[in-house]
């Protein structure tokens, strides 16, 4: 019958189950389905309402008073010792430790070369041997050979420094994908720098085109 849905909503929303609005009373006289629905709802609500109501125990106030005085007397930083806070603290410490480990083991770095690209020897992760190359000897400044671009081999020449080269051991040429500038020791060396970025602390960033990039932090 038309309007039954609306009537059933009214039955459900009635303030008291046995006090139905006039519209509903008028409708259910003619509609047996809605009458059955109304009777079911009345019985159900009476059943649920008729359940025994429990009361607070006799000592409710006394226990509440004791708990309240405990709350008033506790330190303002009581939550620092709560199990929830300790769990949160332990979880945070664990996450930080994992981040530190991941940082130092290189999991978070994205210096991986493109697939299929041969990896230059100097672009690998620093090893004690490779670090030696970057740290100048305290000996007097070695002779510096100026290498102009015309003297250089083709750009795809990614090879070790020839044995007869006058390049000292403490230097890395631009051809090898890295440049180190040292205070007072670079003189008028001609180097190619495809990309230079300067930050708060002077930073030289060398990217050899399609080659594996490496950054060299230094001051000059």
């Amino acid at each position: 019958m038309n309007g039954c849905k609306y009537i059933r909503e009214l039955i459900d929303e009635a303030e008291k189950p046995d006090l139905l609005p006039f519209d509903v009373s008028e409708h259910i006289v003619q509609c047996t389905e809605c009458e059955r629905f109304a009777n079911e709802r009345i019985a159900l609500r009476q059943l649920v309402t008729a359940g025994t109501r429990v009361s607070a125990p006799i000592n409710f106030d006394a226990v509440l008073k004791a708990r309240l005085s405990e709350v008033k007397n506790r330190s303002p930083f009581w939550w620092l010792g709560s199990p929830a806070f300790l769990r949160l603290g332990a979880a945070t410490a664990g996450a930080v430790a994992m981040l530190v480990v991941a940082q130092y083991t290189g999991w978070l770095s994205n210096n991986t070369p493109p697939a299929g690209e041969p990896i230059a020897e100097h672009a690998m992760a620093p090893t004690p041997d490779s670090l030696k190359l970057l740290i100048p000897e305290p000996a007097p400044p070695p002779p510096i050979i100026v290498r102009s671009p015309s003297h250089r081999k083709p750009s795809n020449a990614r090879h070790a420094i020839p044995a007869d080269s006058a390049m000292p051991a403490g230097y890395v040429s631009a051809e090898d994908g890295g440049v180190v500038l040292l205070r007072g020791r670079n003189g008028d060396v001609d180097v190619q720098m495809p990309t230079v970025s300067v930050g708060a602390q002077p930073l030289l960033y060398v990217s050899a085109g399609q080659r594996t990039a490496r950054s060299v932090g230094t001051s000059f």
Binding site: D12, E40, L47, R53, S55, P57, F60
Partner: protein
Amino acid sequence: MSAVTHQAQAIELGGSRAVETASDHELLAAIRDGDEVAFQEIVRRYRNPITNFVYRMLDDYDRSVELAQETFIRVYTSASRYQANYSFSTYIYRIATNLAISELRRRKRRKTVSLFSPFTNDEGDAIEIDPPDLNLLQDETLIQNERRRAVARAITSLPQKYRAAIVLRDVEGLSYDQIAQTLRLSEGTVKSRINRARNLLKEKLTAYI
């Protein structure tokens, strides 16, 4: 604005008669000023309804009493932040509802198994397995007790979002508007949940209707 109004209404509530006739908002204003008698009056007014409400939500009397006390402790400690935008009953029922729902979630995480509802559906809600008792009951009291237990079990087997709404409506007698404010839902959602809860209860309690 309301806070200022009720601050002004924080009349001297020293006399027991004044306390008994004071409104909830006046009592809250007095509690803010440190009046212990006003707090005792609030506890006296609401301890039974709150205990009963939490009991209907949890079906665990001892825990219900603890949570009812926790509700009053929160009322006391947050009295300075109370804003009388809604009726106090809405406010205190909201605290009790949140505590009860937190308790239900904690129990769900611990995967406590009720002897009456050891199985759960896909949503993790308890499915009541209540095989019919074919023995004849001799005593009317036993029948009434059994009916009460069946109703309590049926209510506690409802999903918690339906349970809070139906208990507030049919057990505590709150209006749809108050329930909507307590549960922070729209009135339409509350009506829908209550309708759904009644349909579920009807299926579970067919034998008693």
